[in-house]
């Protein structure tokens, strides 16, 4: 459904994606589509043990394999503690990682790396590296990690920023507002839910890849599938000991990220192999490596207690989190913080709040950034608890949300109390169409007619469920984006942005934002993005930041160029800039009607009189992070005989402010909803008692296919964010927060059992039905 906007021009139009024609033609635009002559193949030797000390490494036999050019391991690589998380400054994740350590901490951890002339030689060399391990007791759950006398996973003395390494606690938070205990005790009604999310994987269809090579000047170029090119440059420079000025990072087209590529994984290894050999090196994760050695969602247990008055107005929310960050603490503190910071403000009527939690190490794969970034885990518990509270009050769940959700002009103490691993920023909500989202979504799904009816169809029972969510638009006080806009001599424009399009469409959206200001069609704005040699800085594509943060930088640059164009035209026409108007590719005088095309203006400024480059660079930091809002509704059918749950329909009504590109915005919602349905019904990484992932591939780790996909109906509900570029705020993450609770609540509506552990497999559903005697 298209959104109506009062803006005319490029904004609000679903224009052809600027990179679309080359993508549908299959052009070689992705990282590994680039052939670098003479490139070596780099491969990594993974740890077979969950927890072990490396007693010795013998590479003699491997080095003798014909074609092997370099082998890296802890004995020949400088030890530099760092974090693989590609985040802003100060880096909130601990420096608990080195390129190659004397110890391995999960099955799949990096032991050594090889560069060889061929893939076959590299693989043979990996097989011939002799490693003697002293196997250590492994910690395979957060509970074990916290137990007295548990093995210490990070006992290295040079790690920095770990909250309590001796007890395997990476991060801990405890933020009280008011007096939750008393408020819960005095509440007219209380409800609670404890929900668990397992290990799951982003599963972008393009595996991580990188090519390291040297340019004509001998500088190191990293062409890599990353969401954070500028963080890659900074972190690789430090880890491999190279002047950052000697490194160029290029992000070409990226085959999806969802957070998994907000991580510096292969780049420093490829860089070091290239530096050691003086040769180009290409590295790619296999699908199995993506599963075990890239990043996952943080598995969590989230417990929520709610207290409310008779009228349903919340008095207290208590949220407690136990997060499993795996073997390294990438994003551990920030994802943990986000569980509270992106959920609790939604119901700002509650005066008493407490948010506390721990993130702990285990000897399992490493969790990291994943779309939703903790909010997904938080909303699962919060929205199941809200469903219970509505039931306890005898109130419609939509009515309960209406009485409690934040509105325009309101705030929440949480905005200030919890930020990105530190204090946040006070802010007032300036746009919120959640009430409309609730109404429109409820009408579309037929809430009044169909909920609580338990319609039966053989063994299948149908039910309806709903949930709400918000997210943010960038990270306050951390994110910064810059854009450079240049007018060419022909009157067209070049837009240079550090912003990173991962397939989200941000190159197109940023071009639209500029085109709208400049009164030209989008195809007059050539976008070049994500190249640390040629584009200005951007923190990267994460935290729902690009449209809002990078978009505001683009808008400011375009406004400056707009003024410069008017100045040139004013001089040419002998009129004051105030009477001139830029529209439809020309500047016209309101006074005399005289007109100059952009081509004429560009030509004049470049070649004729008072010659200059019409151009501007602007940057934007993020003083506030306007939340998008969404209401989610679904219909499920539950087979009482087999426990199979089928999602029949999924409706999401979302407020992302003005949708710059409606089809791209809908696409973000549709894709996020299906990932959320995957979380709810089928996605879970499973581990053997040894700590080895037993389903690290698409055959055993089930992603939803088209046949598993219900009708997903994405409705864009307009609002206008006054601080956003052309009224826009974010849309990329919020959609994933709804399916888990909405589907759980729908299962309850259908068969009267609460599923609180994801995914809701037939086995778990049947067990729940049996336990409830149904």
């Amino acid at each position: 459904m298209a959104v109506e906007t009062r803006h005319r021009g490029a904004v609000g139009q679903s224009v052809t994606k600027v990179d679309g024609p080359s993508l549908v033609a299959g052009k070689p635009v992705f990282t590994l589509d680039h052939d670098v002559p003479g490139a070596l193949v780099g491969k990594i030797l993974p740890s077979p043990h969950a927890h072990a000390a490396i007693v010795s490494i013998d590479t003699a036999e491997a080095e003798a394999v014909p074609g092997v050019r370099a082998i890296l391991h802890h004995g020949n690589v400088p030890r530099v503690p760092y974090t693989t998380a590609g985040q802003g400054w100060p880096e909130p994740s601990p420096y608990d990682t080195v390129l190659f350590d004397r110890k391995v901490r999960f099955v799949g951890d990096r032991v050594a790396a090889v560069a060889a002339e061929t893939e076959e030689a590299a693989e043979e060399a990996l097989r011939k590296i002799r490693v003697e391990y002293k196997v250590l007791p492994a910690v395979l759950s957060p509970e074990e990690a916290l137990a007295d006398g548990a093995p210490v996973i990070h006992d290295e003395p040079d790690a920095e920023g770990i909250y309590d390494a001796k007890h395997n606690i990476v991060a801990a938070v405890d933020i009280p507002v008011g007096d939750v205990a008393s408020a819960l005790a005095e509440a007219h009604v209380t409800a609670e839910a404890t929900c668990e999310i397992p290990y799951s994987q982003h599963a972008a269809i393009e595996p991580h890849g990188v090519i390291a090579y040297f340019d004509e000047a001998g500088r190191l170029v990293l062409r890599t599938s990353t969401q954070v090119p500028f963080h890659v440059r900074r972190i690789v420079a430090r880890v491999v000991g190279l002047d950052p000025a000697r490194i160029r990072v290029i992000k070409p087209r990226i085959g999806g990220g969802f957070g998994s590529k907000q991580e510096i994984l292969l780049e420093p290894v490829a860089a070091l192999l290239a530096l050691r050999t003086g040769r180009p090196v290409r590295m790619a994760y296999s699908r199995e490596e993506v599963f075990i050695a890239s990043r996952t969602r943080h598995p969590m247990r989230v417990a929520v207690k709610l207290g409310a008055g008779k009228d349903g107005v919340l008095q207290a929310i208590d949220m407690e989190v136990l997060s499993n960050t795996g073997a390294y603490g990438a994003h551990a503190l920030t994802v943990l913080s986000n569980v509270g910071s992106k959920t609790l403000p939604l119901y700002n009527k509650a005066p008493h709040l407490r948010f506390r939690g721990k993130a702990v190490y285990t000897n399992l794969p490493v969790a990291g950034a994943y779309r939703g970034y903790g909010a997904t885990q938080g909303y699962f518990a919060l929205e199941v608890a809200m469903d219970r509270l509505a039931e306890a009050l005898g109130m419609d769940p939509i009515e309960l949300r209406k009485r409690n959700h934040i509105r325009v002009g309101e705030t929440s103490p949480i905005f200030e109390k919890i930020g990105e691993g530190r204090e946040g920023t006070a802010q007032v909500v300036r746009s919120c169409a959640l009430a409309d989202c609730l109404r429109i979504g409820a009408e579309r799904i037929g809430w009044k007619e169909n909920r609580g009816r338990r319609r039966e169809d053989g063994p299948w029972v149908h039910g309806l469920g709903m949930a709400c969510a918000m997210q943010g638009s960038g990270i306050t006080g951390v994110d910064m984006a810059a854009a450079t806009l240049v007018m060419q001599d022909d009157g067209s424009f070049r837009l240079l942005v550090g912003a990173t399009d991962l397939g989200t469409g941000s190159d197109t959206i940023l071009a639209q934002i500029a085109a709208q200001e400049l009164g030209v069609p989008v195809d007059r704005v050539l976008v070049y993005s994500s190249d640390t040699d040629f584009t200005p800085f951007d923190t990267g594509a994460y935290a729902s930041s690009t449209t809002y943060v990078s978009g505001n930088a683009v808008l400011r640059a375009a406004q400056s160029v707009h003024r410069q164009i008017l100045d040139v035209a004013a001089a040419a026409l002998g009129e004051r800039p105030e009477v001139l108007e830029l529209a439809e590719g020309a500047v016209a005088s309101r006074k005399t009607g005289r007109r100059l095309t952009l081509g004429e203006i560009g030509h004049r400024a470049t070649y004729v009189v008072d010659q200059r480059q019409i151009a501007a660079t602007a940057s934007f930091t993020c003083p506030e992070s306007p939340p998008p809002f969404a209401a989610f509704f679904c219909e499920v059918a539950v087979d009482r005989e087999t426990g199979v749950v089928r999602v029949e329909r999924f409706v999401v009504a979302a407020d992302c402010g003005v949708a710059i590109h409606p089809k791209a915005a809908e696409g973000q919602l549709e894709g996020a909803i299906l990932q959320g349905i995957g979380h709810a019904l089928c996605e879970e990484m499973l581990f053997a008692p040894s700590g080895r992932c037993v389903n690290a591939g698409f055959f055993d780790y089930k992603l939803p296919s088209s046949l598993d996909t219900p009708r997903i109906e994405a409705i864009l509900v307009p609002s206008e964010e006054p601080t956003g570029p052309w009224g826009a705020k974010s849309i990329s993450e919020i959609g994933i927060n709804g399916p888990l609770p909405a589907i759980s609540n729908a299962i309850y509506d259908a068969v009267g059992v609460r599923l609180t552990r994801a995914p809701f497999t037939p086995e778990r559903v049947l067990l729940a039905l049996r336990a409830a005697g149904k």
């Binding site: 993508l23 033609a25 992705f30 393009e206 809908e666």
Partner: protein
């Protein structure tokens, strides 16, 4: 060993290792639209058409295409002259990251070769072996139905 086959309408006669995967051969020949998403035949990103039928090129060895016709996305249309099916993917907003797109377009092409009027269910079945993590398949299905309508209207070449 020597291999003779037709690639996007052009005969190829070249040396291959008997065990070389078709995926690797095609990429070696510059057909970079053929993507490796898993290497185990599960994701469909490496789909190509062999004698008009969609196959996973990661599960075939090169000698299996001896004497056969192979079509990759490069053979369907180009940036300047896209096939209507490619245009439909653009117009419907079916392309996000674009990594699954070549395989999706080729399985849709196979479907529409044999069926001018597919139902939404036909489309869902046709693309069921190709994973997409970005779109929820909504706009991909829209694109295939749009292309089918164009075909019925005689707009295909």
């Amino acid at each position: 060993m020597k291999l003779l086959f037709e690639l996007n309408g052009v005969p190829q006669y070249l040396d291959v290792e008997p065990g070389e995967r078709l995926l690797r051969l095609l990429r070696r020949l510059g057909m970079k639209s053929v993507k490796e998403g898993c290497g185990t035949g599960d994701c469909g990103a490496c789909t190509v058409l062999v004698d008009g039928r969609a196959v996973r090129s990661c599960l075939m060895v090169a000698p299996q295409v001896q004497g056969r016709r192979v079509l990759t996305l490069e053979g369907l249309g180009s940036v300047d002259d896209p096939h209507p099916l490619q245009q439909a993917f653009l117009d419907a907003g079916a392309v996000q990251c674009g990594f699954c797109t070549p395989g999706m377009i080729l399985v849709a092409y196979e479907l529409l070769q044999g069926n001018d009027d597919p139902s939404p269910e036909d489309v869902r079945k046709a693309i069921a072996g190709n994973l997409c993590r970005c779109t929820g398949y909504v706009k991909i299905a829209d694109a295939v139905l749009l292309a089918a309508r164009w075909k019925q209207e005689g707009k295909w070449r």
